[in-house]
Assembly symmetry: C2
Homo-oligomer: 178 residues x 2
DNA sequence: TAAGATTGACTTTTCAATCTTT
DNA sequence: AAAGATTGAAAAGTCAATCTTA
């Protein structure tokens, strides 16, 4: 994705600029690394436990929730995003007996999604292999100090992403030179 | 995806362990951050330029290649992965006039994929908006030193990933305590 | 009217053949 | 037989309604 290097800046308005070499290199490494990690994570889960990465995520969120239960909207926010994708995914998982849906007593519009014993068992069977893969992919190559550094940098980016999602149109750049 | 916390270690063999708190935190931040970045990148491209992130990637790889041309297998490796996904995607893009396929003269099995002028124009139109989004998402919140740090950490992980893909079954852990 | 969730149509991806050339 | 690429059917995801309750 390095057609940052297309030299066409005629559509520019305002203070547009391209990526500098350091940014470009970091961005390319970022793209390849994240793509590979997602791919390997998914493959390992499917091969060893017959669940997709998205399904694992859903099971994990439910497992951590009180009563192993979460409202669909909450689950969508925490796990996969997209309401309708979650509905489709949960419908498939319910057919497989991994989760269970019940009307929400407190709010007639809501639906509660609960992890079944079977779902919990599937998660428990999948978790060690998944964690081993995560360790091998991401943490074995890093020292403890680097693990923290990496987390800090990611957190800094994430904070900015969340901020921009909450306050759209707010550029969030520091303009100390105008 | 924090069902690293499932306390079931019976399926363990060898020297299995769970993530420690620092690793767990970094992993969760990593997952949310990368998911958000991929999502925003894709949305911005579709909204502003009517192309998907995957299509942008294909256009960009071709644009950087000599003669704006790459063999399908090479393009698959560099861009999207999966042979058949690339075939389907390129078929759609060819129908839209963005790329062109021709038999490979050197190897009768191969197929060359070439970026058309129309495809180049589409890429040029999309690139500034895309780069602006990348800057805003990833680089505005970081100092130049942090950009390098981040790139270095990612590169370290990537190197290990590539190594494991090349040498399967080689754990690549340092066992300085046995 | 808005929020929560679902539905169905359409698009994209995956997976397992298949076909051709080396 | 193996590599490069394609195909078509099945699975998953997206998007724009739709339905129900607050």
């Amino acid at each position: 994705m390095s057609a940052m290097t297309v030299d066409e800046r005629s559509t520019t308005n305002e203070t547009f600029r391209w990526l500098n070499p350091a940014e470009s290199r970091t961005w390319l490494v970022y793209l390849e690394t994240t793509r590979r990690i997602a791919e390997r994570m998914h493959r390992q889960l499917v091969a060893d436990s017959a669940i997709s990465a998205g399904e694992y995520d859903i099971l994990a969120r439910l497992s951590d929730a009180p009563e192993r239960t979460l409202r669909m909207s909450e689950l969508a926010t925490r796990a996969v995003n997209s309401r309708s994708r979650l509905t489709h995914a949960v419908a498939r998982m319910e057919a497989d007996g991994l989760v269970l849906r019940t009307p929400c007593p407190a709010d007639g519009r809501g639906v509660l999604c609960t992890l079944t014993d079977s779902g919990q068992a599937r998660l428990a069977a999948a978790a060690p292999g998944h964690v081993t893969e995560v360790l091998q992919m991401m943490f074995n190559p890093l020292t403890p100090a680097e693990v923290d550094q990496f987390g800090d940098l990611m957190a800094k980016i994430l904070q900015s992403l969340r901020h921009e999602d909450t306050h759209p149109e707010a550029p969030a750049v520091d303009h100390h030179d105008d």
